[in-house]
């Protein structure tokens, strides 16, 4: 009987590969390419010893530690040390997200849609599907390890040696395995795919925040987060393998627990049971606007809290940054100093460029929900009643607009209140407020493009995520690599003035806002005219 539990695992494994061959390949190639491109860019950017050491000095501060993990090898800052310190954590986050989606899709996803029921009525073991998913996860992570490891060492860059490159790949793989296993566990606990993905991503963000707080403040706290382990492998400098083994071990323990829970539960049940709901709809729910808010309620609250915490966690390092500045005069000499601005003020726009892109996510999620509803044939339920398309879309658009302002304001408030608490000479609220709010037009342009896509080519609406990903790359990596300005200019985020170093610019504000309005109006017109899919 025990042997039966995994019966036909290999055939289900092939089913998953058949369904996901393209999806997995795109992720693997994308992550490998990104890594290789960045590594080659570093060689051009910091070709001399002196340039590398200047960069190393910019890394010696708590804000960078909070964002990237503790710096290491800064005294001899090789290309390898740069890769390991500046790229490993964020690439690991990308791999983790890939694994979360991969596992959620093939566990709770298939179960929620009733496909597992069909399989389980056949001679297929109780644990076969979860085991097959685990094997695909393992295989994908091993491939990442090999593809990234081999291509990095094949670049022939002196400090990117084979053993370090393999560890770099292994660190990515271990992170992926851990969060994939966590997703498998949440797939047993939550009753829906949304819940599974939501809890898993929440845990990923929590792991990032705990690591940030721990890396800046207390080493012990950083060891509570698997991401804290990963950044301590000190790839290319000391090549510690133990954190990677620890992560992989933790992953297998979590996955084993998921297997156990799966073996004792009913199909389509979860250990966090759904509560019975209301008997009748509240007045609030009885409009398209109310329905849209209700559908996204939990997610919106979670994102609002998340953005506040993100702002606060960045704000909390401002104090350390200040203290640090007082003791180290050298830095101020080496940094490309801007007259009249403190280092903390110079960091502000960089922090907000990252925060603003994160703020854009809930805004886009809200808009794309309209598209998702359409694909599930639920939009027609509303449109068949006396609801116009304009009214339907403006419900979602209106909420997204409000969300864009609220989350950005919450991030500002979070950063300001944490800053007040930790800084001896706190920054003025106005400074932080301006630095944050100035990004709104860029967020609105992203909204505009999303509306445009939904209005004309709903199939490609998801492409907005690629554009947001591109924006993140040019804003975040561009900051480190000083990429050509035209590449940054392709993203609305690249045009935003760096307040307080630069002045607020009415022309930029007006042009971006008008562009957004134009996209939105066109999108509404397109939505009013096209066929409803599904």
């Amino acid at each position: 009987m025990l042997r039966d539990r995994g019966h036909q695992t290999s055939r289900l494994l092939r089913l998953i590969l058949r369904r996901d061959r393209v999806r997995i390949a795109i992720w693997l190639v994308g992550i490998t390419l990104l890594t290789v491109v960045v590594a080659s860019a570093y060689t051009e950017l910091a070709s001399t010893e002196q340039e590398r050491q200047v960069m190393a000095e910019t890394m010696r501060n708590p804000a960078m530690t909070a964002m990237l993990g503790p710096g290491y090898g800064l005294d001899d800052y090789t290309i390898g040390a740069m890769m390991g310190h500046q790229m490993l954590l964020f690439t690991a986050l990308a791999v983790a997200i890939m694994c979360i989606f991969l596992v959620a899709r093939h566990t709770r996803g298939d179960e929620e849609y009733g496909r597992i029921e069909m399989l389980r009525s056949l001679p297929v073991g109780r644990l076969s599907n979860l085991s097959a998913t685990g094997l695909v996860l393992l295989g994908s992570c091993l491939l990442i390890m090999l593809m990234v490891g081999i291509s990095l060492s094949a670049l022939g860059i002196e400090s990117l040696d084979w053993s370090g490159s393999l560890l770099y790949g292994a660190a990515l793989a271990a992170t992926g395995l851990f969060f994939g296993a966590v997703t498998a566990l949440f797939a047993q606990l939550a009753e829906t795919t949304r819940g599974t993905v939501g809890w898993s991503v929440a845990l990923l963000l929590l792991a990032y925040l705990i690591r940030a707080i721990g890396d800046v403040g207390n080493e012990v706290i950083a060891w509570l987060s698997p991401l804290g382990w990963i950044v301590r492998s000190q790839v290319y400098v000391n090549n510690y393998w133990n954190p990677v083994f620890l992560t992989a071990l933790a992953a297998s323990m979590v996955f084993a627990f998921a297997l156990y829970l799966h073996s004792i539960r009913d199909l389509e049940a979860g250990f966090i049971p759904a509560r019975p709901g209301r008997r009748s709809a509240s007045r609030f729910l009885q409009t398209p606007l109310g329905l849209a808010v209700r559908l996204q309620r939990t997610a919106l609250i979670a994102w609002a809290v998340g953005l506040f915490v993100l702002g606060a966690s960045y704000g909390s390092v401002l104090g350390d940054l200040e203290v640090y500045l007082e003791t180290m005069d050298l830095i101020q000499l080496m940094l490309p100093a801007v007259e009249g601005f403190s280092l903390t003020e110079q960091f502000l726009p960089m922090l907000f460029s990252v925060i603003s892109i994160v703020s854009t996510i809930p805004v886009l999620l809200m808009l794309l929900k309209l598209n998702a509803e359409e694909n599930l044939n639920r939009t027609e339920l509303l449109l068949a009643r006396s609801v116009s398309r304009n009214r339907l879309m403006s419900s979602y658009f209106g909420i997204a607009l409000v969300v864009s302002m609220v989350v950005q304001l919450l991030a500002v408030l979070g950063m300001w209140s944490a800053g007040v608490a930790v800084m001896e000479d706190p920054m003025a609220f106005e400074t932080i407020f301006n630095a944050g709010i100035v990004y709104l037009p860029a967020i609105w342009v992203m909204m505009g493009i999303a509306v445009l896509l939904i209005g004309f080519v709903p199939r490609w609406a998801g492409g907005i995520w690629l554009y947001l990903g591109y924006s993140f790359l040019v804003v975040y990596i561009g900051e480190l690599l000083q990429i050509p300005q035209w590449m940054a200019n392709l993203s609305p985020f690249g045009h935003i003035p760096k307040i307080p170093i630069e002045d607020f610019s009415w022309p930029i504000f007006l042009v971006l806002t008008l562009l957004a309005v134009g996209f939105v109006v066109a999108g509404f017109m397109g939505y009013g005219r096209r066929d409803i899919q599904g």
Binding site: D4, R11, M118, L119, R120, L267
Partner: protein, 297 residues
Amino acid sequence: MNVIQVEKLSKTFGHVTALDGVDLKVQAGEVYGYIGPNGAGKTTTIRVLLGILKASAGSAKVLGQDAWTDAVDIHRRIAYVPGEVNLWPDLTGGEVIDLFLKLRGSDNRNRREELLQRFDLDPRKKCGTYSKGNRQKVALVAAFASDADLYILDEPSSGLDPLLEKVFQDCVREVKEEGKSVFLSSHILSEVERLCDKVSIIRQGKIIETGTLSELRHLTRISVGVQTRVPIVGLHDVSGVHDIQKEGDWVSIQVDTERLPDVMKHLSQFEILRLESGPPTLEDLFLRHYRSTGGAS
């Protein structure tokens, strides 16, 4: 041997009792009907039989083996069609059918092709583009193309049009002729009447009647319509007469099947001009059971 043997089966979800002491015995070669209103526990019973829900109490045996612990062994010999078929939108119907057949281990190409034709299914379309009825067909083709001993069908024809429903019924008769057993849940009563040897009726998680169709007939009523030269009197005093409705000189009544001779004797006194009668249907029986215990809507 009993292909399905369920004893005192109970299943609770938290505080909700879905099944409350269900007993079922399906003998080899039988087509067994399992009827009840929505939410009565039909699908829950089937899911326990498939070993994807674990019984809270009682036992469920399929083909002589325990439904939970021996699920994989059992599933080699059964075929299942769910009430609502959900498939992978990115695979074609043909791919899904092959997957199911391979997973079971039987691979009868001729039978597969024949069924594709009979059910009029295009196997090259992606499942994401199939309508509900077409997804149902995929599951039916996969089920009947496999060489199973027991077919468990959960409201299998709910998405089919009348022509294909006929094809489905033919398939059920064919497997019955081969000596296979069929467990068919339904709320389409004419379907159960046409196909089943034996029936159990479930309501609110309890079996309220079990028997062959003729055994259950004692519970059924015949509808009789009659026109007489002399106005009928005294009908209220005849036992076994229900729902008397008069429309001009046309009288329609419901008669308990076993009381029919007495009622006819009474009616004949009034010089019958026209007489119509409908066959006893499970519909009436079902409705009566449903009403008599004052069920929820």
